[in-house]
C-alpha cells in the first residue's frame, strides 16, 4: 500500500519540470503564440531527449516504456508552464492506439519515429464524443471520406489518426487531406478541421469491429487533459499566493485580508485532492482496467470544474492585473478553458461515467 510517486517518478517529474522551467518561460510562450507556433521544435526536442515523446513506447521501439502515471506527470508539467508543444495526441493517444490495435509492422514503422520526435501524429475523434454539424468519416475500401473536427495537435502533425463511423482507427497522411486551422482561445495548442475525400488510409487491424481501442485512447487522452489542467491550475494558485503575499492595498499585503486568504484556501482545498484523483486515474488505466473508464471520466470532469474555479479565483486575487496581458495569467486561464471542452465537456463526460457503472 503505497499511494505515492516512486523515486523514479519523482526524478522524472524533477527532470521534466526543471527542463521546462528553464526552456519554457512565459516569454518564450508569448513569442511562440505571437508567431502562431503551437509546437516549438526546440522545446520539443529537449523533451524528446528526456523521453517525453516516447514515454509510453516500449524500449525496443525506441521509447522509454513507462506508464500512464509517468505520462500524466509530464502532462502536468507541460500544463504548469503552458508549453506550446504537442503531447496529448501524438505521444499518448496515438501510441495507445498503435500499441493496442496496430500491426507489428505499423508499430515498428511509426513508434520509433514518434519516440524520437521525428513524427507527430494528430488525433481526430471528436465526433465520437459529440457529433456536430455534418462531421463523421466513412470508409470505402482503403479510402476514407468525410470530415473530422477538432483534430488534436492537428496542424503540426505529419500523420493523422482518425476513426470512421464504426470506431475503426486509421492512419492517413496529413499531406493527403485538406486541413484548416481552427482558431481557439488557447494559442498554445493546435486543433484542426480535416476533410477527407477518398483519401487513402491504413487501418489499424486490431480496431476492426472493436471499439475498445478508441475508448482506451479517449480514456488516456482525458487523463492527460486532466493532468494538464492540474498543472496549469497549480501554477495559477501559486501565482495567486505569491501575489497575495506581495501586493499591498490599504497599508497591508492583500493576503492578510480574509477575503483574499479564503479565496486562496478554497482554491488549495479544491485543487489538492485533484492530484490524487489524477494519479489514481492514470494508474488505473493499466493496473485496474475495470475502473479505467470511470476514473478517466471523473478525472476529466472534476478537473474541468476545479480548474475553472481556480482559473477564475486566481484571476480575481490578482485584481485588475489578472485581467491584463501584463502578467500573462490568461495563458493559463485559457489553457484550462481549452482542456475543459476538448474530449468532452463535463456534463458529457459525467454521463459517460454513469454508463460506465451501469446506471443507465
Amino acid at each position: 500500500m503505497d499511494f505515492a510517486l516512486t523515486e523514479e517518478q519523482l526524478m522524472l517529474q524533477e527532470s521534466i519540470g526543471g527542463y521546462l522551467r528553464s526552456a519554457c518561460p512565459l516569454d518564450s510562450v508569448r513569442e511562440a503564440t505571437e508567431v502562431g507556433t503551437t509546437h516549438v521544435p526546440k522545446i520539443a526536442a529537449g523533451l524528446a531527449e528526456l523521453g517525453a515523446a516516447g514515454i509510453l513506447i516500449p524500449e525496443e521501439l525506441g521509447g522509454v516504456g513507462m506508464g500512464f502515471l509517468e505520462a500524466a506527470l509530464i502532462s502536468e508539467a507541460l500544463g504548469s508552464v503552458i508549453a506550446p508543444v504537442s503531447f496529448v495526441a501524438s505521444s499518448v493517444m496515438a501510441p495507445v492506439a498503435l500499441l493496442g490495435a496496430g500491426s507489428q509492422d505499423q508499430r515498428e514503422r511509426w513508434l520509433p519515429r514518434v519516440a524520437s520526435g521525428e513524427v507527430l501524429i494528430g488525433v481526430g475523434i471528436s465526433e465520437h464524443i459529440g457529433r456536430r454539424e455534418t462531421d463523421g468519416i466513412f470508409a470505402d475500401d482503403d479510402t476514407l471520406t468525410g470530415k473530422a473536427m477538432f483534430v488534436l495537435d492537428g496542424m503540426d502533425a505529419d500523420t493523422l489518426l482518425v476513426a470512421d463511423n464504426e470506431a475503426q482507427l486509421y492512419l492517413v497522411q496529413a499531406s493527403d487531406v485538406t486541413r484548416n486551422k481552427l482558431k481557439t482561445i488557447d494559442r498554445t495548442r493546435s486543433v484542426a478541421e480535416i476533410v477527407l475525400d477518398q483519401t487513402s488510409a491504413e487501418i489499424l487491424p486490431g480496431s476492426v469491429n472493436n471499439r475498445k481501442h478508441l475508448n482506451d485512447m479517449v480514456n488516456a487522452g482525458r487523463v492527460m487533459l486532466a493532468a494538464d489542467t492540474l498543472g496549469a491550475a497549480g501554477t495559477m494558485l501559486e501565482q495567486a499566493i505569491e501575489y497575495a503575499k506581495e501586493r499591498r492595498q490599504f497599508n497591508r499585503v492583500i493576503g492578510s485580508f480574509q477575503a483574499v486568504k479564503h479565496m486562496c484556501s478554497e482554491m488549495a482545498a479544491d485543487l489538492e485532492p485533484c492530484r490524487s484523483l489524477v494519479w489514481y486515474a492514470a494508474h488505473a488505466i493499466r493496473a485496474i482496467p475495470d475502473e479505467a473508464t470511470l476514473m478517466a471520466c471523473h478525472a476529466k470532469a472534476h478537473l474541468a470544474e476545479t480548474g475553472r474555479f481556480v482559473a477564475r479565483k486566481a484571476t480575481e486575487v490578482h485584481g485588475g492585473m489578472g485581467f491584463t496581458d501584463l502578467l500573462g495569467l490568461h495563458y493559463w486561464f485559457k489553457r484550462i478553458g481549452f482542456d475543459r471542452q476538448l474530449l468532452g465537456a463535463p456534463e458529457v463526460v459525467r454521463e459517460e461515467a454513469a454508463v460506465a457503472q451501469g446506471w443507465i
Partner: protein, 397 residues
Amino acid sequence: MDLAYSPEYEQYRMEVRQFLDANRDQSPPPYGRGNGDGKARDWQKLLIENGYAARTIPKEYGGFGGEPDILKSHIIAQEFASAGVRPGHSGDNRLVPTVLELGTEDQKQWLVPPTVRGDMIWCQGYSEPGSGSDLASLSTRAIVDGDDFVINGQKIWTSGAQHADMIFCLVRTEPDAPKHQGISYLVFSMDTPGIEVRPLVTMTGEATFNEVFFTDVRVPKHQIIGNRGEGWFVANNTLKHEREGLGDPNQAENRFREIVDLMQRETMDSNRLIDNPTYRDRLLSLQGRMLAMKFNGMRVLTSQIKEEEPGLPRWIIKLQGCELNHQMAAMAIDSMGELGILYDDGPYLRDQGRWQQRYMMDLGLIIGGGTAQIQKNMIGERALGLPKEPKFEKPLN
C-alpha cells in the same frame, strides 16, 4: 403595483417611435466613438433639439434643458435600443455632472458645450498600478510651479485614452495630508506635452484600456475642479455614476434570449442543446436569477421615479448582475462543447465568439469598478450596517 405606463408616457413613447421612424436614416452606425465624418455630430444635435440626448443639461451649456424624468429617459433608452438606432449621449456621464455641480462658470462654458456636442471626448485618470481597490492611495504627483501644476506619475485602466481629447484626473497635490485629503481633480488636454499612452491588452486580446504616463506634464492651475485637496470628494460623484451602468438587468435579459436561441439552434448528436435536461435545468436556474434581477431593476426604477433612495436593491446590482452575465457565458460555452473554445474568427465560430469574449470581459467587470470583494464590503457596511475593519496606523506585515 401597476406595470402599465400612464397615458402621458405612452404618448411620449409614441412620439419617440415616430421620431425614430422619421429620422433613422440620418443616424450613424449603432456603435462608434466620436463624431467621425460629422454624421454623428448632426445626429447628436438633432437628438438634443428633440430632447432625446442631454435631456437634463441646461440649454445654456448646450443641452435640452428638460426636467429630470427617469421614466422618459428609460423610454428613450428602450426605444432606441429596440429600434437598433444609436442613442444620443450627455457628453460624459461622469465628467459633465461633476463640472456642472462643482465647476466655475468659466469651466462650465469651456467644457460642457463641446462635450455635449461630442466634439470633446474624455478619458478618466483615476486608477494607478499601485492603487486598485485602495484608490485613495494614488501616488501620481502634481507640484506647483509658477502658474502650473507639474504632473509626474502613471495611470492605468484608462479606457479610450488613445481617442480622447481631454482627461479628468486625480493627482496628489498635498503629499503630507492624510491620504484622502491630499488629492486634487484636474482636467487637461491629452495633447499636453509629456503624456504617453500605451495600449493595455487584456485577456480578451483587445486593448480596451490603456496605461497613461505623465512626465513633467504642465497644467495651468485654473484647470482644477473644486478646491485643492478636495479631489477625492469631487470624484466620488463621478464614481457613483460609473458604477450604475454595470450589471444592467436589461443586458442580462438580452443575453439570456441569445443563449436560449443558441441552445435551440445548436445540436449535438442531432439533439438540440436545450433538449439536454442537465443543460436545460442549468439554463432555467439562470433564468430564475435573471428574472429576479429584472424585476429588481423595475423596483429600483420605480424608486428613482419617486425620488426615493432605492437602497439595497440598487447596491447589489453590480455584484449580482456581473456574476449572472459571467455565468450565462459559462453556460453557453459549456453547452457548445468543443465549439465553445473557438475564438477570433473561423467558419464554425458561433455568435461571432461573443460568449468567450463575454466570459472573460465579465470576469474583468467582476474585478473592475470595485472588485466583488470591495462590493461585498460596501454592501455589508453601507447597506447592512456592519462595522468596518479596524484601521491600522502603521503599515503591518
